[in-house]
C-alpha cells in the first residue's frame, strides 16, 4: 500500500494567484514516474459530478520515496462557491496511474478567501414571481 500526500502552502487563494505546494510519496513498488499532479475543480451535491482538469503535470523526481514542490497558475474562474443544491470545489490531486491510488487536498479560489455562500440565501418560490 503506497502513501501519497499533497500539502498546500495555504487553503485560500485568490483568482490568478500562483498556488504552491508539496507532494510527498512512499511507494510500495515502482518509482515516482507514474505519479501525476492535477489541478482540478469538481461539483459536489445534487446532480452528477462534473469535473474539470485545468492543469496536469507529471512528478519529475525519481525514487520510491520522496517529495517535490509544485506550483500552478490559478485561473480567474470558476470561483469556489457553496450553493443550496451543489457546490463547486477545487483540489490538487496526486494519482498513481499504475495502482490507481490517489490523494487530494482541497482549497478555495475566491476574491474574499472563503467560498461564495449561496446556500444561506432562501429558496425563492416561482409563485412569488407572479406577485411581484
Amino acid at each position: 500500500m503506497s502513501a501519497l500526500e499533497v500539502r498546500l502552502a495555504r487553503k485560500e487563494w485568490l483568482p490568478g494567484q500562483r498556488l504552491q505546494g508539496e507532494v510527498i510519496w512512499h511507494l510500495s513498488s515502482g518509482d515516482a514516474s507514474t505519479l501525476a499532479l492535477k489541478l482540478l475543480w469538481y461539483t459536489e451535491g445534487v446532480g452528477n459530478v462534473d469535473t474539470g482538469i485545468v492543469a496536469q503535470v507529471p512528478v519529475s523526481a525519481a525514487g520510491a520515496d520522496g517529495r517535490q514542490t509544485f506550483a500552478f497558475e490559478l485561473p480567474q474562474a470558476p470561483l469556489s462557491f457553496q450553493g443550496g443544491l451543489f457546490s463547486l470545489c477545487w483540489c490538487v490531486e496526486v494519482a498513481d496511474e499504475r495502482t490507481k491510488e490517489c490523494a487530494r487536498e482541497s482549497f478555495t479560489i475566491s476574491p474574499r478567501g472563503k467560498p461564495v455562500d449561496l446556500a444561506s440565501h432562501p429558496d425563492l418560490a416561482t409563485t412569488e414571481l407572479w406577485s411581484c
Binding site: K38, E44, G47, D50, S87, L88, C91, E93, L124
Partner: protein
C-alpha cells in the same frame, strides 16, 4: 446544503389523485380484460368441453384448437386479474420525501479527463445580438409563436385520433360505453392540449420586448445600463416589471431518468413602469451583487443569471419572459 423536506400538501394531494386515477384506470382495464376472457371462456369454451366430455364432439372441431383457445382465454383472464389486483395497493403507499436529494462527490479513484458530452443544447427563447459598442440586444421575437405552432400541431393530431376513436366506439351497448370510458383520460389530455394552444396563441399576440444591456456582460458588483422597448401594440400591456434573478440548476441521471432541480436564490426588481402608446420604453440600471457567484455552466450544473420581464395585461394572459444574462467576476 438544503435538507430533505416533506412533500408540500397541495402537491401531495395532486400526486395521490394522479396515482388513484392511474390505479382506477388500471383496475378497469384489468377487470375488463378478465371479464371478457371469462365471458368468452364461459360462453364458448365451456360448452365445447361439455360436448367433448359427453362424446358429442363433431369431427369438424379439433381438440388441439379447443385446448389452445381455452389456454389463451385462461391466460388473458389471469393477466386481467393480476393487472386489476396490482392496481389496488400501490396508490396507498406513502410518498417519498420531497425533494429526494442524492448528494454526489468525487469517487476515490483518480479523476480522468471527461469526454465531451453530446447532448441537446439548451435553447433560449429569445434572440441575442452582440453589438459593436459592447452592448447586447435581446429580443423576445417569435418566442411563444413557435411554441404555439408546435403545441397546436400536436394537439390537432392527438384530438384527431381521439375523435376517430370516439366515432368508432360510439354506440348504445355496454362495451361501447366501457371503451369510451377508457378513452376518457386521453380525451382529457386532448382538452388540455387545446387549452395550452389557446393560451400560447393569446400570449403570442403580446408585443415584442427588446432589451439592450451596456456593457453586455454584467460584472459582479458592477452596473450595466439597461434600455427596454415594447415594439408592436403596447396597448395590450398595462405595465412592465423587470427582475434580475440568479438560480442554480443541477441535473441527475441520464436518458429518461434525467431530472433537473433548480433553486432561485436571488431576485430583485430592476424596473417597474406602466406602459402605453406614449411610453413604450424605459431605462434602468442593473446591479449584480458582489457577494454572489458569476455565471457557471458545466455538463450537469449551472449558475444562471437572467432578466425576467413580466408584462401585466388586462383581460389577457400576463407575459413572463426570461432573458439569459452572462455575469462575470
Amino acid at each position: 446544503m438544503r435538507n430533505e423536506a416533506p412533500v408540500p400538501p397541495l402537491l401531495a394531494w395532486f400526486v395521490r389523485l394522479l396515482k388513484a386515477s392511474v390505479a382506477l384506470f388500471s383496475f378497469v382495464f384489468g377487470a375488463t380484460f378478465a371479464g371478457v376472457s371469462g365471458y368468452v371462456f364461459y360462453s364458448s369454451m365451456l360448452p365445447a368441453w361439455r360436448r367433448y366430455a359427453s362424446g358429442d364432439f363433431s369431427e369438424r372441431e379439433s381438440v388441439a384448437v379447443l385446448i389452445f383457445f381455452t389456454a389463451l382465454a385462461l391466460l388473458f383472464f389471469v393477466a386481467g386479474v393480476l393487472v386489476a389486483a396490482s392496481s389496488v395497493g400501490p396508490w396507498r403507499t406513502p410518498l417519498p420525501a420531497w425533494p429526494r436529494l442524492r448528494r454526489h462527490t468525487l469517487p476515490s479513484s483518480p479523476v480522468r479527463p471527461r469526454r465531451k458530452r453530446f447532448g441537446v443544447r439548451k435553447r433560449t427563447l429569445v434572440e441575442k445580438l452582440e453589438l459593436a459598442d459592447g452592448s447586447v440586444r435581446y429580443s423576445s421575437r417569435s418566442t411563444y409563436r413557435v411554441a404555439f405552432y408546435v403545441v397546436a400541431a400536436f394537439g390537432l393530431f392527438w384530438n384527431g385520433v381521439i375523435f376517430a376513436g370516439v366515432r368508432d366506439f360510439w354506440g348504445g351497448d355496454g362495451l361501447s360505453l366501457l371503451m369510451l370510458a377508457l378513452m376518457l383520460p386521453f380525451a382529457l389530455v386532448g382538452i388540455g392540449l387545446f387549452g395550452a394552444a389557446v393560451y400560447l396563441w393569446m400570449v403570442s399576440l403580446h408585443p415584442t420586448i427588446e432589451i439592450t444591456l451596456l456593457p453586455g456582460r454584467l460584472k459582479l458588483g458592477g452596473v450595466s445600463e439597461l434600455t427596454w422597448k415594447v415594439t408592436g401594440d403596447p396597448k395590450r400591456l398595462s405595465s412592465v416589471t423587470l427582475l434580475l434573478e440568479c438560480l442554480e440548476r443541477a441535473t441527475e441521471g441520464s436518458g429518461d431518468d434525467e431530472t433537473t432541480r433548480s433553486r432561485t436564490f436571488f431576485r430583485s426588481i430592476v424596473a417597474e413602469q406602466s406602459v402605453g402608446p406614449a411610453n413604450p420604453q424605459g431605462r434602468a440600471t442593473v446591479r449584480a451583487p458582489a457577494e454572489l457567484a458569476p455565471s457557471f455552466e458545466s455538463d450537469h450544473h449551472e449558475i444562471a443569471w437572467q432578466l425576467v420581464v413580466k408584462g401585466k395585461a388586462e383581460n389577457w394572459p400576463d407575459l413572463l419572459l426570461p432573458f439569459p444574462l452572462e455575469v462575470v467576476s
